[in-house]
Amino acid sequence: MSASRIVALAAALVLGACATQPEPRGTGDLGLVVERADGKLLRVENSHNTALGEIGGLGDLSHASMVFSRDERYAYVFGRDGGLTKVDLLEGRIVRRVMQAGNSIGGAISQTGRLVAVANYVPGGIRVFDADTLDLVADIPAVGPDGKRSKVVGIADLPGERFIYSLFDAGEIDIADLSDPKAPKVRRFTNIGREPYDGLVTEDGHWYVAGLFGEDGLALLDLWNPQAGVRRILDHYGRGERRLPVYKMPHMRGWAVAGDEVWLPAVGHHEILVIDKRTWTEKTRIPVAGQPVFVVARPDGRQVWVNFALPDYDKVQVIDVPSKRVVETLHPGKAVLDIGFTPKGEQVWLSARDSDWVSIYGTATLKEVARLPAHRPSGIFFTDRAHRMGM
C-alpha cells in the first residue's frame, strides 16, 4: 500500500469515528409509517420529507396504532397480535417489547406520560403498563352486565391519569382511574347503545363520543358533567335509508373538529355528518365519493381530508370547511389507507398501500410535492400527537 493510500485510509477512519457520534437532533419532525406486511416501521422526518431507515421485528401490525412519550423520543406501538413495543425514534431501534394479550386494538398514554394502557379484544379488557419499563401495572377486565368478557375499543386518555373506553359486546363506556395505580377505580356507564365500534375524546377533554355499529346514532358523554350520564345523539340518522355493506369500519381517531363543528364518517353511507358541537345536533350532510374511513381536519380547521373504504379507496377528497364543498378529488395512488398532517398542516402524507409509496401533498396547492417509497404502507404517525389529548 502506498503512503498516500495509507493517509487516505487513516483520514477515512477518523471521519468514520466522527460519524458514529451524530449531531444531536430534536424529534419534533419525526414519525413512523407502518409497513404491516413485513412487521416493520419506516422512520421518517417531515422537514425534508425523507426516510431515515426501517425498524423490523414488530409482529402483526394490521390495524396497528401508536402513541408517543411526552419527550417525543419514544413510540409505543400497539400490534394486532397483542404486542406492545417501545421504539426509540432517535436511535431507530426497539427498546423493549412485550406480548401482553392475544389480540389487541390500540392504546393510550396518560396525562403524565407514566402509564400506557392497551385495549384488548382477547382477553377483553385493558392492561396498563409502566411507560419506562413496560412492566404490568394493572389488569382491568371488561365484563358486561351478562358476566361475559367484552372486546374493548375506542380507548383514550383523560386528565388525572384516567382512561376512557367502550365495550363493543356489552354496549358500555367505562372510565378507569389510575391516579393510584395500585388501586384502579372503574366507573361504568351501561346501556349506551349496541356495538360501539370506536370512540374519541375532544382535544379539550370535554366530550367522549362513541360511534355505534349496531344501531343508528352516537353515544355522547359530557366529561365535565359525567353524572348526567350518556346521552344518544343523531339517533334518527339513516332511519329508513338502506345502509350499504360496510367493508371497513370507519375510524374516529383523528376525527375532525373544525371550529364549532364536528365532522364524522357516516357508517354505511357515502356521506359525512357535520354536527353542531354546541347542541350536538346534525347541521348538514356532505355527499362524498365513497364510504368515509378517516375524516381529518387540517390542524387549522380550514380543510377536511377524507379517504374511503373499498372499493373507492383510490380517491381522497378535500373539503373546504366554510363552504362545505368538495374542492378536489385526488388520486394519490392505490388503496389509500391513512392521512397524516405535518404539525402545522402545510403538507399532508397519504399512504398508498397497493402503490408502495407515501404521497406527500401541499395543502395550499393540492399538488403532490414528493413521493416516498414504502412497502405496503398503512398508518402514518407524527410525534406532535404526543401533546394532544385523546391521541
Binding site: 406486511a37 394490521s62 397480535d81 389480540n103 379484544y121 363493543f168 356495538e195 367493508y247 369500519m249 372499493p311
Partner: protein, 112 residues
C-alpha cells in the same frame, strides 16, 4: 377507447364466456387468485386479522372452519351475516371468487 381496443375487449369477453360457462364453478385466473389472496389478507384482515387470528370478527384459521363445507362458507362470504359487522361481499366478489376463498381459507387450495 379506440375501435381496435374495443374489439379486443369484446373478443376477450367472448373468450372468457367460452372458458367459463355460467353455472359451473370455474377456477379464477392465476392473476385473480393472487388478487383474492391479497383481499383475504388486507381487506378481510381488517376485521379478521392479517394472519386470520381474529379481531372484531372471529379467527378464520383452517381449524376454525373445518366444520363448514365450501358452499356454506362461500354463502357466508357472499351474503354476510345480517345484524353483525360481517358484510355481504356480493358485488365485489363473484360466486367463483367466494368459492375459491372458501377453499383457500380451509387450506384446500393456494395461489397457483
Amino acid at each position: 377507447m379506440s375501435p381496435s381496443r374495443y374489439g379486443l375487449l369484446v373478443g376477450g369477453l367472448a373468450l372468457f364466456a367460452l372458458v367459463a360457462p355460467p353455472g359451473r364453478a370455474a377456477e379464477p385466473s392465476p392473476a385473480r387468485q393472487a388478487r383474492l389472496a391479497e383481499i383475504v389478507a388486507e381487506d378481510c384482515g381488517a376485521c379478521h386479522g392479517m394472519t386470520r387470528k381474529g379481531g372484531l370478527g372471529p379467527p378464520l384459521l383452517t381449524k376454525n372452519l373445518a366444520g363448514y363445507d365450501d358452499r356454506t362458507l362461500a354463502t357466508v362470504i357472499l351474503d354476510g351475516r345480517p345484524d353483525t359487522p360481517m358484510p355481504p361481499w356480493r358485488g365485489l366478489l363473484s360466486d367463483d371468487d367466494a368459492l375459491w376463498i372458501a377453499r383457500y381459507l380451509k387450506g384446500e387450495t393456494d395461489v397457483r
